[in-house]
Amino acid sequence: GLEVAPDVPRNETLILENPTGRVRNPDNFNRWAPGMDGYSNGLQQLALDTLWYIDPDAGIDGVWDNALAAEKPIYNKDFTQMTVKLRKGIYWSDGVEFTADDVVYTVETLKANPSMMNGGSFKVFVDKVYKTDDYTVVFELTKPHSRFHGLFTVRWSATFIMPKHVFEKEADPVAFKFNPPVSLGAYVLKDYDKAGGWFLWQRREDWQRTSVAKFGMPGPKYALYIDPGPSDQRVIAQINHNLDVIHDIAPEGMITLAKRNPTSRGWFKGFPWAHPDPTLPAIILNNERPPLNNKDVRWALTLTIDIVPVAMASYRGAATISAIHVPPTGMYPQLYFDPLQEWLKNFTLDIDGEKFAPYDPDAPLRIANEARASLGDQVPTDPAEIKKALGSGWWQYAPEMAEKLLLKQGLTRDSNGKWLLPDGTPWKIRIIVEGPTRPIMTRGAEMIAEQWRSFGIDAQTEVANDIWTTRLPLGDFDAAMAWCIETWGGHPDLFWFLESWHSEYYRPEGERVVFKNIMRYKNENIDKIIEELRSLDFDDPRCLELGKEYIKTCVEDMPIIPIMSYNVFTVCDEYYWEGFPTAENPYTNPVPNWANTKYMFPMIKPKAVK
């Protein structure tokens, strides 16, 4: 039969895209060291493990999985102590048993080296960590922290556990390369490209001594993570059946695959195919820069966006739109979107004494209609299905209302209809986008800029690279098409990203923001919500209520303009393998760089190739 590599049969191998592309320092497997980029290559998905996983979708066995932990975290009353019970019978790939010593060692090492992954957080929050027995670890915290377990809970990634017996032999844990990695997952590294192009993993003989064993034997004997090149090549590679899992491509690539390769399969069987990531691309407005510091202005900008062309331009309609400040994915439609529909419909803006209800629940239907023009029957017609695929609704396109809002705020139009700021200067907005790195958002933002232009604002996109390192965190922008809202997807708690919006972390423009408050927004209501969340247990039902409070506050204030979920065209080829996660069977996220994809492996099975 075919071989992907010497002595590696094709039909026993799952080939996945490593979305970080070529790994620059492929020899380094020290996931905890700063700046290492070789972790989406199977390392964090197949070889590393940690205490808990929350699935962004439904999960195999519910969203919460106790991986290395035997049960959920146990906090004391005031959240100053967390106790963890560990699973027994888990072994490192070199035959050493995994115990509480590894966990204690990991935390102590990271605490001592703040430049390592999450080291800063451990240094700040952990006072003491110790084991009470080989399977119990106790964390004494420096101050109350009800979400401390989040550091060990995978949402895409988390703090993984170090093998003490390997690391303790090294003088400098930061410089240590951890090569070959000793595995706690079901796979071990078999071979890799010194130029960082591919990484080949082999199923452990003793896969039963790992945390995924409870879901069965991982199907593929080999897993190969490759850099398949730019998006066109990925499409070609899958048509040639040389790439089983594509991480992401442009919608046109997806359409091509749907046409050319009958075994290609997206999250949805047909339109809109893509898997919605639990992140929320939005127009992030710099709330510090006038006039964007004005709520009415922000609303005016919202009302001058016509979501239908935006969905068409960015995703050819395959967008899951969101009018509110959480992503419409995973469990959130049921948790937040459905319950809030009524409130949204009744929500009104007060414009010149007039009440205006901006919510438009029919936007998805219109998008579906538009999409049907070019994609035909693939686009569903059933409103329920449309809602599931494209979201529940958005804001009306109401430039007249926007105009009133702006005039009220002292902005004026010049003779050419161009908007002038109250001080008489032309109103200019530059939306920064990431260009070729994220075509979808670039395309969407370009459309929004066009709409704003036609409304009379000097709006343009500006391609900037790696906006995440400086421009966004330092506030060096007017607007950006990016995200600052990331959620668990499978769990209603918003604390994970929301905490950093608290005004105590507020930093003025020019100073680096703390984590996610990129729009530099301050609101007392939000502060209160966060403070209450801090005092609540992670699973407390009140969290969901507070989440709704948060949404309502944001809708009123519109600090950023939510657009849609980040739909990822993860395409799986059911030519050699079947059983990939799908919208019908949403047992995990198929997006291959997520550490959560480890749950995919026990579920997929070889397919008899004709």
């Binding site: 091509t256 331009a313 530059r430 070729p436 075509p439 459309m447 066009e450 690279n465």
Partner: protein
Amino acid sequence: MVNIIKDLYQHDTRFRFAFIFILAILVLSTLSFFSPYDPSTSFKVPIDASPSLQYPFGTNSRGQDIFWMMTFAVRNSLLFGVLTALLSRIISIFVGLTAGYKGGLTDRILMSINDSFVVMPVLPILILINFILRENLNLISLSITMACFGWAWDARLIRSQVLSLKEREFTRTAVYSGMGTLHITFREHLPFVMPIVFATTINNMLWSIGLEVTLAVLGLSDTNTPTIGTTIYWANQHQALIAGIWWWIAAPIVVSTFLFLGLYLLFASLNVYIDPRTRLLRIGG
């Protein structure tokens, strides 16, 4: 002027083709002023329509009529190329003439600078500069930066020609007629250097428009201005080739091929026309 064109048109096949190609390109870019669409708008026509009578170049996935988009793209790319070539010609003529004629220390200093620019890898530098310019990045600023890097080799060519012109007796006649340095270099030597200037202009335009395409593909050009490069950029953003929207890519290629072929032929025939040897024959020496 009209006579020259007429002469060339009647008697030089290359010029005839060049004339037709360039005329076509000029007409195309002039049409941009009559475009029914604003190039910065989208979804004004059906998407992905293949070339037809109604849409001669087809439409793209952004719902733009590629024909009308190309009118803008060609105009901007052409202006960009011309501006870059013009600016860098000014530098290279000045440096080449001065270094060659002055010689000595001036020459050595200028040529050291020159050699450094010859060796400089333009792309990484442009990328760095691009990071500085940011939102000020537009075709003009890009053109100015490119001009700063596109003169060196040509200055060297000009200089080497001047070195031999300097040894020619008429230069000394000029010196003893009391003409100053500027006068000699620009009035006496420049005409001889013009064929090189013309020939390098086409190369420079090829280079700069090509580099703009490269930068555009990487998203480092001003994506808001339609050019041949940004057309390809947007096509890439929509995976046009793989999605079978080949006309979106074909249009810029065909147009740029026409443009360059036209320019190339034009300069080839002009070169012969202004070459002193043929010029003498022409005016009957």
